[in-house]
């Protein structure tokens, strides 16, 4: 995955720099909620979290998070467990990499 996709430290808008750690920390909480929602089969919750991720990622310089959010929203609506699981795994990688990249 490219640095651009994960939203690494490349050309980060100085306005965003102080906001990104908080944003990513909140995504970690989303990941925990997504995993428990998937375990419970709470599809609407998955779709809702996906919708929010789709709406916010790109604005914070993480377009890939927006794309994954859209995939999660679709998977939640279609009750697609495999699709949701794959999107959650990728999101996990993106968030971890972004946090490591600073």
């Amino acid at each position: 995955m490219s640095e651009r996709e994960s939203g690494g430290p490349g050309n980060v808008d100085p306005l965003l720099r102080p906001l990104i750690p908080g944003y990513l920390a909140a995504r970690r909480e989303d990941l925990a909620m997504l995993e428990s929602a998937l375990a419970e089969g709470a599809w609407l919750r998955i779709a809702g979290i996906g919708h929010r991720l789709a709406g916010s990622g790109g604005s914070y310089g993480f377009p890939h998070i927006s794309k994954l959010g859209a995939r999660l929203e679709r998977a939640g609506e279609a009750r697609d467990a495999a699709g949701a699981r794959q999107a959650i795994q990728t999101l996990h990688q993106v968030v971890t990499q972004a946090l490591a990249g600073g």
Partner: protein, 479 residues
Amino acid sequence: MSRPPHDRPFLVLVVDDDPSIGTLAAACLKRDGLDTVLAADARACERALARSLPDCVLLDLHLPDRSGLDVLRHIKHRHAHLPVIMLTADVAVQTVVAAMQMGAWDYLPKPFDRTKLRATVRNAITQHRLTLRVSQLEREATGGYGDMIAAAPGMERLFQQMERVANSDITVLIHGESGTGKELVARALHQASSRSTGAFVAINCAAVPETLAASELFGHEKGSFTGADQRRVGRLEQADGGTLLLDEIAELDLALQAKMLRALQERRFERVGGRHEIKSDFRLLAATHRQLEDEVRAGRFREDLFFRIAVFELEVPALRERGDDVLRLAQHFLPRTLRLAETTEALLCAYPWPGNVRELQNALEHASVIAAHGTVRPEDLPRRIRNHPDVGRVLQATGTAAATRRHQPADDSPAGHAAAAPAALRTLEQLERDAIAASLARTGGNLSEACRALGIGRTTLYRKLERYGIRRPSTEGDG
């Protein structure tokens, strides 16, 4: 971006259940010097609109408690000119078209572009400011606000503030001495609001006996107390869809203040003796001649209620601070067949009007009953006004004190005046002398201003002062 009137930063209300959107929008808009207030759902949005005056709203289409389109409809109904920018991850054409048809200023697809967000908000605020400016200029062209007649700078400031709050649901506390026209201000706010088709319900908390106040405000059920032989709808309920004015709110007793606080927070209450909750959607205006902060400190007024009602405060100036408005109002209150004598004008300007506009109106009603020959002379005004020390000085300066005393009726009644000698026609010289004396009194002895008012040159004024033996009142400077 330049600051709005009163040096308050522009305010943007961001309504979105995702805190990361609010945080980012706030950071972006701060770059342009804009303040933000965040609301996570429709209820929080309504509360924010009752407590703040945003210049623009960023509204998410999907909210946890109501659809963004419902909230948009509500905002455009109550705050027609307030620009609303929809935020939506759903870019379905029909949704966007529906929002624009309902009056949305623009929409931004999510995730939003930060530069575009700033530009769109700036444009929306500029348009909002221009709309307010146009209504201000239209109002200035008519020389007043609603039924209020005024041109004094203090009143102009008041009108500008009223313009900011009129077309909103914000709670307003109106301060002002007794008789300054606080109810008129409240009525004008109601008339200029989207609630003008609803009722304007006013209750003077000082005029209602303590024992009846709860029933008056909240209503009562039949049989709830001795004498309650039928159900009564209270003022809060009557104001549903309109505006409620709680005049002299400081006079409300503490027990009722607690009940009122709950009713204002929830816009829900029960009638006295009732078991069912009544909902009423009213805009609250409150008025008082007291300093409510002092009442809070003295333990006579609940602090939480104070913060609930003192969201936006207006100060109505006392009449003595309004300069020539005294004469404008006096002409307004007089029948068209009557005019004010120059000395009467000087007198009206000199008197401090402790009872404010109400006292002026009463004085002129009194005078118009007894004035003869189409002119209101000083002796036609109530005695307490003529005998006031400030007025006495003016009358002495204009040389009419003796004449006033000569013609002073035994009492202020029309009959008493009729018994007095009718005023004789005066010569042009006498009129000129009075005019010069009156203009000096009104300008505090400022010769330049007196010349301008009289329409004569300074040399002419010197000559006439000498000729009539008029002495200038002492001044700090003569301009």
